[in-house]
């Protein structure tokens, strides 16, 4: 009987947890180009696109000016959000951050506003202090249309993060409160 109950609970949990992923399959306004392609792994780090990342909680938006001219949003998985909540540094193993980026374009409906245009890149930072012990515990992955960009681009990630945000466990984004 006990196992039957556990089974029921597991089924209920699975049903609830599955909701965001089911929604991602809809054909409405939703969907990200990175989710429409089978994912390969990033060079150097072997990072792949995690399921359901577009449904993760927002950490903060950002803008990157010329020459990229992008508007961005950084989201985190549950482990990331818990770490931000509790002010945990370094981020624990299992933390995944994603940065969604779009061209930053004028709103056609409201002159003072600018909004996301076409998606450009989707990037991930994955914390694994063993697997990525030679890169501060972080693996990096940058994807365009669901496919990782080349090794040369991935060689630039770590040096910039190490040079600029060493005191925040190599993570630029702070919680937008």
């Amino acid at each position: 009987m006990k196992s039957a109950r556990i089974g029921l609970i597991a089924a209920a949990l699975a049903a609830v947890l599955a909701v965001p992923f089911v929604l991602a399959d809809g054909s409405g306004e939703k969907g990200n180009s990175a989710e429409t392609h089978a994912a390969a792994a990033s060079p150097i780090y072997g990072v792949t696109i995690p399921d359901g990342y577009r449904q993760w909680q927002l950490i903060a938006p950002a803008v990157e000016g010329a020459p990229l001219n992008e508007i961005r949003a950084v989201l985190g998985n549950d482990i990331a959000i818990k770490a931000y909540t509790e002010g945990t540094l370094p981020f624990p193993d299992g933390t995944i951050l994603t940065k969604l980026a779009w061209k930053h374009v004028q709103s056609p409906e409201f002159e003072p506003a600018s909004i996301p245009g076409d998606a450009t890149t989707v990037q991930f930072m994955v914390k694994d202090s063993v697997k990525y012990k030679d890169s501060g515990g972080w693996g990096f992955g940058r994807f365009v249309n669901g496919q990782p960009v080349d090794e040369m681009q991935h060689q630039t990630c770590l040096g910039c993060h190490q040079a600029r945000v060493k005191d925040h466990d190599l993570v630029f984004t702070r919680w937008a409160r």
Copy 2:
């Protein structure tokens, strides 16, 4: 026995659904100024700040230029996200959208980037086709530090939305895909 099973399932569901709200109580980087004050209701519409809105899914980021100079993120409750997913227009009753706004400031760590500074306003649109039948089905609420702004500011919401986004059920924000 059946009721006991249902009770277990309900408990499991409640435990899962409660997670984001528990996290909002943390003392780390997280927290939004609107969540730290008891909420009053907006003038005209009687909209109050819904629990847990900071944990809702991202619809899209945006920027508003001078004179406000804000960076923003629009989030939606589950009904809103489902409507975007399925391309449902008009949005169904129960839809709530929130726009979080911060001063848009230079990143101190990366020259091309700009990021959220201090929070400015938190705004809500609540769909209730009966209660708000005289305003296109939408109630509006604009809050600063958890308190609604004055009636004059709330008088400006509807006219602007009606003039500019009548073909999208008075909602500016599209899904950032």
